[in-house]
């Protein structure tokens, strides 16, 4: 089969699965609908890898045009599948993680009654994500963008009987609307400037627009910077960057496989993907890139600090995701798009691994998510422990630089070091990039701390799950609004309650974990030379545009401290975590109990939810109340419909009152009418 047919099958197989499971799931039963969706996803995954390998071996990029979508004048949008290195990488990431998550869900969702719906949503999400990454114009990109948003909304609120899940779903949707607004404005700006939304027509035009802009308030504003910044607002929403990040931790209300697939590996990286895809714009938009760096750096720092104080296992990983996304944006901002993509690629493996591992822990703990109620699980669930270790090593970037050419380490080591080195190089000429570098370095240490903290609290120390585990933290319910997934579904095999012994997950859940472990170990080692190493030009083959004066990926002699410092801070984080959670485990609860200002600040996530609630939610409600009660009810309704209606009724009463029923009154009215009309007529005639 031609590659064109193959990729078409690749993209539409998940849609077919979603339709079958979603519309006919109840009729064909649980197992068939799960089998159909999972089977089709594995088919997609297989094709994606075939395509990736072909691309790797030098197959040319191509475009499959399927159907016209919206074609009005210059606004030409076509349903199409764009295959180049960038999309090939994304196809592999999306389909692989998705296929594994599908498989994992067989075990994780075994007790749920709505399995067909769940699998249909997962497949629908995958289709939308594939449409996003293969888009050849902004319209399809936007379609995929909104499609994944919809699927995310549906999946976060999958347990729709739980109020917190509904609230989280709505929050995710609304926050993303803010980003989408900027995104839509960005698309409009692009269309307004270039009269096209097709990437292949747009990118060659960009150099001709370098100086276009407006003079406003005594400043020259570059149009490309404006477009880049607006489009980045969209990316901020989707990738949960600072200011628009609040939805991501709450999104953990969804089932854990969803968190792994959507809120760690794929959807949230769409923003990074878009910035890399639009590298021709960003390469010519220095201001927009500085914004990208700043936001990325602040996000990674913020999320890492918040992650230090969280107790919900999934939330810790969620903040970690947020932080790693910040890394990716730092990379894109300094011009190392390849490094950003590489981190995206490796992160997909180890973050999915961590989430699924956490899912396995939660499963083992009978849907307990509070780490303070865990401990000493290593012996009980050794496989999960092993894969979590692998994931943690990968995310903390442990590895030895400067041996075997690229150094030796797990996946995160290569990509994170790549980003930091690129930031350092860019920082030589750009102070903002310098800031990015320093923040990145600090965050590496924080990452190590909270990641190991998670491992130690969960797997080491004394078991805290024997007795009733809620007693010692009854006062902390407020923070973790809902730390347990609803167990309304029947626990036939292990019943309710917390007194049971943790047990290892079934193999259908462990297999994906093992597969992902392989990725987390080897993805960096194998692919680093191609993504960011000396072969990167041959690998990317123009899918990412790099301007002539961008040298961040070129070989350059770096000071030794730059190369070694990431390892150093990472080890430092590990040691501090060791101290707090292995040697002196009684210390952290005491710090928490003191409620110091820093701890409170971090514990409450920098008070973002409170501030947003005060400014936006309350403000909007106040404004809405003002418009509703004063503007609408009093002014518009009062003077308009209601006032008019009142006047009408009054008029009606008057008219009805004239209708007395006496003939002589009627006759008199007639005569008055004659008289009036006569006077009017005569007045007209004279």
């Amino acid at each position: 089969m031609s590659p064109q047919t193959l990729v078409t099958i690749l993209v539409f197989a998940p849609l077919l699965g979603a339709i079958v499971a979603g519309l006919f799931g109840r009729r064909i039963g649980h197992v068939p609908s799960m089998a159909v969706t999972t089977g089709l996803l594995f088919l997609s995954c297989l094709i994606a890898w075939i395509n990736f390998v072909a691309n790797f071996n030098g197959a040319p990029k191509f475009l499959v045009e399927l159907l016209p979508f919206i074609q009005i004048g210059d606004f030409q949008s076509t349903w199409s599948i764009r295959v180049d290195t960038l999309s090939s990488v994304m196809l592999v990431v999306v389909t692989s993680v998705s296929a594994l998550v599908h498989l994992y869900s067989w075990g994780y969702m075994a007790e749920d009654d709505s399995k067909p719906r769940f699998f249909a949503y997962l497949s629908l999400f995958t289709f939308a994500m594939l449409a996003l990454v293969t888009a050849n114009d902004f319209m399809q990109l936007f379609f995929g963008w909104e499609g994944v948003g919809l699927a995310s909304y549906l999946l976060i609120g999958f347990w729709f009987k739980k109020p917190t899940a509904n609230a989280a779903a709505i929050k995710a949707f609304v926050v993303n609307r803010v980003g989408d607004f900027g995104f839509a404005l960005g698309i409009m700006t692009v269309f307004w400037m270039f009269h096209t939304i097709r990437f292949d027509q747009l990118f060659p035009l960009i150099p001709s627009m370098l100086n276009k802009g407006w003079d406003f308030a005594g400043q020259h504003w570059s149009a490309l910077d404006l477009a880049g910044a607006l489009l980045f607002v969209g990316a901020m929403g989707k990738s949960a960057q600072f200011f628009l990040h609040t939805w991501l931790p709450d999104a953990m209300e969804g089932p854990t496989p969803v968190s792994a697939l959507i809120h760690a590996a794929t959807m949230v990286t769409a923003g990074v993907y878009m910035v890399c895809l639009l590298s021709p714009i960003y390469e010519h938009a220095p201001v927009a890139r500085d914004i990208v760096i700043m936001i990325g750096a602040i996000t990674s720092l913020f999320a890492a600090t918040v992650g230090l104080a969280q107790n919900d296992i999934k939330r810790v990983i969620a903040y970690s995701t947020c932080s790693q996304l910040g890394y990716m944006f730092i990379a894109a901002g300094v011009g190392a798009y390849q490094a950003g993509m590489f981190h995206l690629f490796t992160h997909a493996f180890f973050k999915a691994l961590l989430f699924l591992g956490a899912g396995s822990v939660i499963h083992a703990m009978h849907h307990e998510q509070d780490m303070r109620a865990m401990g000493a699980l290593r012996k009980k669930i050794p496989v999960t422990w092993a894969v979590m270790m692998i994931g943690t090593i990968a995310i903390t970037g442990l590895g030895i630089p400067e041996i075997m050419g690229h150094g030796l380490g797990f996946a995160g080591f290569y990509s994170k070091d790549g980003i930091l080195e690129a930031a350092y190089k860019a920082g030589l000429s750009n102070p903002t990039a310098n800031f990015g570098f320093l923040v990145g370095l600090a965050v590496a240490g924080l990452t190590a701390f909270y990641s190991w903290r998670l491992i130690f609290m969960t797997f080491e120390g004394k078991p805290k799950w024997g007795a009733h585990p809620h007693d010692d933290h009854a006062g902390h319910h407020a923070q973790i609004e809902s730390h347990s997934e609803p167990d309304t579904h029947g626990h036939d095999d292990h019943g309710h309650g917390h007194g049971h012994t943790p047990h290892e997950s079934p193999w259908v859940m462990l297999v994906p974990l093992l597969v992902l472990s392989v990725g987390a170990i080897a993805a960096g080692f194998v692919f680093a030379p191609y993504f960011i190493g000396e072969d990167h030009d041959a690998f990317w083959r123009g899918a990412i545009f790099v301007s002539a004066n961008n040298h961040v990926l070129n070989e350059m002699e770096l000071p030794a401290w730059v190369t070694w410092s990431p390892l150093a801070v990472s080890v430092l984080g590990l040691l501090v975590a060791c101290y707090f959670y292995l040697l002196k485990p009684e210390l952290p609860p005491r710090i928490a109990a003191q409620k110091g200002p820093i701890w409170t600040f971090l514990y409450n996530k920098w008070f973002f939810d409170e501030i947003y609630d005060f400014i936006f939610v309350k403000g909007a409600k106040l404004l809405g109340d003002l418009f509703w009660k004063v503007g609408d009810q009093k002014l518009i309704d009062g003077l308009g419909p209601n006032g008019f209606a009142r006047a009408s009724l009054e008029g009606g009463k008057r008219v009805a009152k004239v209708q007395t029923g006496y003939v002589y009154h009627y006759a008199f009215v007639m005569l008055l009418g004659v008289l009036g009309l006569l006077s009017y007529g005569i007045w007209l005639a004279s």
Binding site: K653, V655, Y666, M670, Y680, G681, A685
Partner: protein, 480 residues
């Protein structure tokens, strides 16, 4: 002076059919008594249908020294009037059967009233105008009081008669003044006199009286006072008749008189008509708000609608007349359907008249409820129902004639009036049903359904033909 007798008789064949038919039915009834009511009804219906065919296909011409015009306008109106009257005959027969009061005079009077209307739309001078109006009115007075044992019906008939006599007096006074100033009764001669002498005080003086007299027949405000009482008191099939055909006849009479005889004074009478139109739709819209009785409500509705139709005449253009003709025919169909629905509804043998009695109709009589809904939406002017097209035509012609302030006032009034139609719909569909309603008679039900179906979707096809024939009819006045 006169065309030869045979062709003259052919030209007024529709009237002859009606007059002779009425007398034959009268004979039939006089000798056959109550038992012959069915036959009389059938015969009357046949006469009306035959008359309609004769009017549609017969020759055109002017008879009796210009007193009688048979042209496209007359043919159009006659066909519409005859068909509406035939419906009234059928509905009345069913109604009399149910109330055990079979009277053969009912179809006879309908025939004679129709004859009067037929002469109204053909009237070419002031005498035939007056006599035809009297012919029609007298029959209607009697019909209104037809249920002579019912106090309300008697009251309705008496009020109608007394006020009608007053309006006839006003009309006659106007006619005599016009005759005095123009020196002739014929419309063409009057037009010549106005062209020669200008629209002076004298002509306007008489004309205003004339307009007032005819406005009474059309139930335009402020000469509308009889309408709610008569609608409420008179028997429902009679009201169905009074509400439909005579209105069209009066409007056509208006158009013919004003355009043929008094076009030289267009500026004056257009203003007078506009005042009447505005008062009519304001009174119609606001007066209906407080009503509890469906028939009274429809009375105000008809007052408002006459106001809208008058806009078309006041525009003084061919398009305006065309719009008025389309409007009136569509309105006649709607209103006939409305009354057919009312005839189809009874509770414990007593007809439903209060709006509140309609509550919960969707459960007991979904078909009728649907028909009333469609007709209400149509009368209030909701697209794509027929009433929307009717109003659209009239308002468009008013806009084209530069009467946009008036047209906007009309639109506002129709928004106000929308309230009472919507309230009716709300009561039918959303309120609880107090008690079951009786089974509805088939003829009323079928007429209701047919009219509702016409209001949508048949109108979408029929409108084309209606528009065309109305255009031809309007063209026969020689306006531009």
């Amino acid at each position: 002076m006169m065309t030869d007798l045979s062709s003259a008789l052919m030209i007024c064949l529709p009237e002859l059919i009606l007059a002779v038919g009425a007398m034959l039915v009268l004979m039939l009834g006089a000798f056959g008594g109550e038992r012959s009511t069915g036959a009389a009804t059938m015969f009357s219906g046949a006469a009306l249908i035959a008359g309609a065919f004769a009017a549609a296909l017969g020759p055109h011409g002017t008879l009796f020294a210009g007193a009688f015009h048979m042209d496209q306008l007359a043919a159009y109106s006659k066909v519409a009037i005859y068909v509406a009257s035939a419906f009234a005959v059928v509905m009345g027969y069913g109604w009399m059967n149910r109330s055990n009061e079979r009277k053969f005079e009912y179809p006879v009077l309908i025939l004679l009233a129709t004859l009067g209307m037929s002469m109204m739309v053909s009237a070419g001078d002031l005498i035939s105008l007056y006599i035809s109006i009297e012919l029609q009115s007298l029959a209607l007075y009697i019909l209104a009081a037809f249920q002579r044992d019912d106090a309300r019906a008697s009251e309705a008939g008496l009020k109608y008669f007394v006020l009608g006599a007053l309006s006839s007096g006003i009309l006659l006074y106007g006619i005599s003044l016009v005759y005095g100033f123009a020196g002739s009764m014929g419309f063409t001669q009057i037009a010549h006199a106005i062209a020669a002498g200008g629209a002076n005080h004298g002509v306007v003086f008489g004309l205003v009286f004339l307009i007032c007299g005819v406005a009474f027949k059309a139930s335009a405000a402020p000469f509308h006072m009889w309408t709610p009482d008569v609608y409420e008191g008179a028997p429902t099939p009679v009201v169905a008749f009074v509400a439909a055909a005579p209105k069209l006849a009066a409007m056509v009479l208006f158009v013919r008189t004003l355009s043929m005889g008094f076009f030289g004074a267009h500026e004056q009478w257009a203003q007078v008509l506009l005042v009447i139109a505005v008062i009519s739709f304001v009174v119609g819209a606001f007066g209906g708000l407080m009503q509890r009785d469906v028939k009274r409500l429809l009375a105000y509705s008809s007052i408002a609608n006459i106001g809208y139709a008058l806009l078309g005449i006041a525009a003084g253009t061919q398009l305006g007349v065309q719009a008025m003709l389309v409007f009136m025919v569509l309105y006649m169909i709607d209103v006939t359907g409305f009354f057919a629905c009312l005839l189809a509804l009874a509770r414990n043998g007593r007809p439903i008249t209060q709006i509140s009695d309609l509550s919960g109709l969707k459960g007991s009589k979904p078909g009728i409820a649907l028909a009333i809904t469609a007709l209400s939406l149509s009368v209030l002017g909701m697209p794509p129902f027929s009433g929307f097209w009717a109003k659209f035509y009239v308002f468009k012609s008013a806009f084209d004639a530069g009467l946009w302030q008036i047209a906007i006032a009309g639109l506002v009034a129709s928004v106000v009036a929308a309230f009472y139609y919507l309230r009716m719909i709300k009561i039918m569909w959303f309120d609880a049903s107090p008690a079951p309603v009786d089974g509805s008679p088939s003829e009323a039900r079928w007429i209701a359904f047919a009219c509702a179906l016409f209001s949508f979707p048949v109108v979408l096809i029929a409108l084309h033909f209606l528009d065309q024939s109305a255009g031809l009819a309007a063209a026969s006045l020689g306006l531009h």
